[in-house]
Amino acid sequence: MELVQTLVNGVLLGGLYGLIGLGLSINFGIMRLVHLAHGELVVLGAYFLVVGLVPLGLPPLVAAAVVVPAMFVVGWALQRFIIQRALGRGVLPPLIVTFGLSMVMQNALLLWMTADARTLHTPLASAGAPLGGITVPLIRLVDFGVGLSCLAALLVLLGRTALGRALRATSDDPETARTMGIDTARMFAVAGGIAAALGGVAGMLLAATSTFYPSTGSEVLLIAFEVVVVGGLGSITGTFVGGILLAVAQLLGARFLGPSYALVAGHMVFLLVLLFRPQGLMPRTAPG
């Protein structure tokens, strides 16, 4: 029964990991960009909620309604004014630029917010619903539900809307998209905004699920990265499945090897996938 409990916890936490990966997946899918500051964007969303909005007494849903558009603007502006200028010049420039941005953001948060642990205090955090012989932790149920909803919304956006078509056209072939009248730089900025907005949602869930620090950004980036590779490059559904696999692996590792091995177990799954199935679990499926 205890094992079932661990598996349930892992699958539910996987919803959050999948969501963390979605932002990176969008960046790679649309602009072929490995966005090394994505972890910091997630953590920025968490700080914005916990330090900026909660003290004002805003209810969580109202706060979320502020964080998501704000993060969209941050992601849009970063892409439009900084990252865009590094694209199309080879592998190195976007990596150096996004890595530099992550260093600046992480250390600015450190100066401003100190290294103290933060978390969002909600009654949900410790609540659980009994189900059979196990307890379903409510906050992780929320993680999973929100993560899945974001995936569904993204699939609809990319697959069924005019904006989604333009984004996919930009991703498939920027040159041709330009000749069809699509402003690709504008599309990239929108994609950067969407990715950061998803990061903001993930950040708020992260704040409610665990404690975080300015340095959590690096950890989040590596999780996002592993989730994307394990799931298969180019498939956002795969990314979500990858999130579940990674979270289950971490919690099983913590349970059987000890808490200090949780991260190692997650990394090992990544290495095993790289060794035996380098294309990932669900490579390249339409849409997105």
Partner: protein, 324 residues
């Protein structure tokens, strides 16, 4: 040519005669400068010449430093054999690690290497033999004369530059740059792309491991979170990019700037890293070829020429063969 000999000769003379005219403060600054220059040079070999941008070189910093610590502190090996062991361990381990991470391309290779380094950081932090996350002292290192450490680090930085120059002027170097400029085209010309990249990767790992062993002797204390820290890559990429990626003198210029910035902003790590990050981004966007690249563009001059130009004879042949 004369300017080159004058600059290199003057620098060598100044560095070698340092005990005659400088104090312990200058010595320790130069030791730090030299091992940073070597680390940056190895990162430059990969990112600037082999097209392998990696954020995982802290793995070889940690492995090199821990190899020296374990060999000299736990196994009772002498300091110098421990150095050789550090280079060997890093160079050999880079082969399977490279073989695995080369399955990822571009940016994914960069971050995949970071994950591998993370695994080692976590494992060393859980390892009782090396004192868990609190680390261990390297007592044998305290018996080494600081001037010996100084000469070793000057030799290391000089050796790293000489290695890169020699490598680039060799056949392997030509293959390496061909791979960087276009893998398919290089493969089409008969270059074994995978092998050439793995060779460069192992050489850079061994060089980085050697520099890391020197940092361990200089400190002489080691902790997994510091030894396997991503900040080593932040430093290496800053030095290579600001100094001039894909040039031999670039990492030297970058290392000098890095050490200067560190000393000016000493105390607060966060401010230091914000300055490094901002500078890297600005240089990449405004002058992506760095300081050495600017000098080359404006004055047409390089300290270590490794570029190949078609010979005059080849030029003549080409002009003749074009019909009027």
């Amino acid at each position: 040519m004369i300017a080159r000999i004058a600059i290199l000769g003057g620098a060598a003379l100044a560095l070698l005669s340092l005990p005659l005219w400088a104090d312990a403060g200058a010595r320790s600054t130069l030791i730090i400068l030299c091992y940073h220059a070597a680390i940056a040079q190895m990162w430059n070999l990969l990112a600037g010449y082999a097209g392998l941008v990696t954020f995982g070189q802290q793995l070889y910093i940690g492995l090199g430093a821990y190899t020296l610590a374990i060999a000299s502190e736990r196994l009772g090996l002498g300091i110098w054999p421990s150095f050789a062991l550090a280079a060997a361990v890093c160079g050999l381990l880079a082969l399977p690690i490279g073989a695995l991470t080369f399955r990822l391309r571009g940016g994914y290779f960069a971050v995949g290497s970071w994950v591998v380094a993370e695994i080692f950081r976590l494992l060393f932090g859980n390892w009782a033999y090396v004192g868990f996350a609190s680390g261990m002292f390297i007592r044998a290192a305290r018996r080494v004369d600081p001037w010996v450490i100084y000469y070793a680090s000057v030799g290391l930085a000089g050796g790293a530059c000489a290695l890169v120059v020699a490598l680039l002027r060799s056949r392997a170097g030509l293959a390496l740059m061909a791979v960087r400029d276009g893998e398919e085209a290089a493969a089409g010309l008969g270059v074994d792309v995978w092998r050439v990249k793995l060779f460069a990767f192992a050489v850079a790992a061994a060089g980085t491991g050697l520099a890391a062993a020197l940092t361990a002797v200089q400190t002489p204390f080691i902790q997994p979170n510091a030894a396997f820290s991503i900040q080593w890559v932040a430093a290496a990429s800053f030095m290579a990019v600001v100094g001039g990626l894909g040039t031999v003198e670039g990492p030297l210029i970058g290392a000098a700037i890095y050490v200067l910035v560190q000393q000016q902003l000493g105390g607060s790590g966060a401010v230091n890293l914000i300055v490094l990050g901002t500078t890297s981004v600005a240089v990449m966007l405004i002058a992506p070829r760095g300081i050495a690249g600017l000098v080359h563009e404006r004055l047409g001059w390089t300290l270590f020429p490794v570029a190949r130009r078609p010979s005059d004879r080849a030029q003549q042949l080409r002009t003749k063969s074009i019909p009027p």
